[in-house]
């Protein structure tokens, strides 16, 4: 996968997704056609993104790094910066658009579709991760921890420590 392909994939995923992980389904769909181990790559990137500072969507930069090294990370960074710039255009026209029922309904419809796609792709990723009892247990614990607002770093350290202990035993 070339750096240009990383840029295009991350840009499209970011453009078509609203919110941090809204990009996940589109990116997963694009990577599925490549020779990359898509789910493993995304799970590794999500793990890195979860313990990094800033928004959750920065997992895309980890994807760029894992696929094409530092140039890939740079391309992904550029790609995630472009779609949010549309806010400047939106700010100019919002007074006219915000009251249009069709504009609001389209955003509402897109919001529901993005969440549905995210639920489906997250479920598939969890299915991939849960093919061992350890992965399944960690997925359940991760779900509970984040819903209880425990910092993600705690979860990642707990998982790594559990894995190390199991390795030693």
């Amino acid at each position: 996968v070339s750096v240009a392909q990383v840029f295009v994939a991350v840009f499209l995923a970011s453009l078509l997704g609203f919110g941090g992980l809204g990009s996940l389904p589109v990116l997963r769909g694009q990577l599925a056609g490549s020779a990359l181990p898509t789910d493993q790559l995304l799970l590794s990137s999500l793990a890195v993104g979860n313990i990094s500072p800033g928004p959750n969507g920065l997992y895309l930069i980890a994807v760029g790094y894992f696929v094409a090294g530092y140039p890939g990370a740079a391309a992904a960074t550029a790609a995630v910066l472009l779609p949010p710039m549309l806010v400047l255009l939106l700010d100019k026209v919002r007074l006219r658009l915000i009251h249009l029922p069709r504009f609001r309904s389209t955003l509402q419809s897109l919001g529901l579709a993005v969440v549905a796609l995210l639920a489906q792709s997250s479920g598939s990723l969890a299915f991939t991760a849960a093919h061992t009892w350890l992965g399944a247990a960690m997925a359940a614990i991760g779900l509970a921890l984040l819903l209880l607002r425990v910092p993600p770093l705690v979860g990642v350290l707990l998982a790594a420590a559990t894995g190390l202990v199991l390795n030693l035993s």
């Binding site: 990094s52 500072p53 800033g54 806010v87 579709a113 990723l125 997925a139 819903l147």
Partner: protein, 207 residues
């Protein structure tokens, strides 16, 4: 969008305050979208850059924008404080430390993955990440349904979920969602808009 009030800084130097303030957030706001949003709120209110209501305006507008919502919000805040220079300073400040740390962690992850005996710990970390992704989807669903019609919202979500499983192309599902929203606006009429801003700051978990 709102224009910033004075924070005691000469107008020419305000972009520097924006850069430093957002750099601190980019380096220290561990915990995802909610932590970053709360840090931006604290910064803007403490410095007197925006009022609470103006801050909520940036939250609402950025949620309508594709991509990473928090980046859109940082752009709006930076521009309100110091124009285009403020916009660039906010994004540079927020992204530089966050990107450097993310790439460094990805590098460490790659190095650890190459070590013998790393398979089991990394399998556990991947499982944890999958659990986090599901939790974020649950939080995003909760936030989205809070703004949707109480009956039609869940039904439409279920319909889109069915499509997501049936059609192996997320872009097609999104295009379908746009067409449905344009063709049948009454289907998506949600709750009263007055509640939107109140729930928006809380609804930043998955951003």
């Amino acid at each position: 969008m709102p224009t910033a009030r004075s924070d005691g800084q000469p107008p020419d130097h305000r972009w520097l305050a924006v850069l430093l303030g957002f750099a601190r957030i980019g380096a220290t706001s561990f915990g995802g979208g909610s932590a970053t949003t709360m840090a931006m709120r604290t910064l803007t209110l403490k410095r007197g850059w925006l009022t609470e209501s103006e801050f909520l305006d940036t939250v609402v507008l950025s949620r309508l924008t594709p991509g990473i919502t928090i980046l859109a919000q940082a752009m709006l805040i930076g521009r309100a404080v110091a124009g285009v220079r403020g916009l660039v300073a906010a994004i540079a400040g927020l992204m530089t430390p966050a990107v450097v740390i993310t790439v460094a962690l990805a590098k460490v992850y790659s190095l650890v993955a190459a070590l013998p005996g790393s398979a089991v710990p990394l399998r556990a970390v991947a499982g944890m990440a999958a659990g986090f992704a599901i939790a974020l989807a649950v939080q995003l669903l909760r936030d989205t349904l809070a703004r949707a019609h109480p009956l039609r919202g869940p039904l439409l979500f279920a319909g889109y979920l069915g499509l997501a499983f049936l059609i192996d192309n997320p872009v097609l599902v999104l295009v379908g969602a746009i067409l449905l929203g344009v063709a049948f606006p009454t289907l998506f009429r949600g709750r009263e808009t007055t509640s939107t801003a109140d729930s928006d700051v809380d609804g930043e978990e998955s951003r």
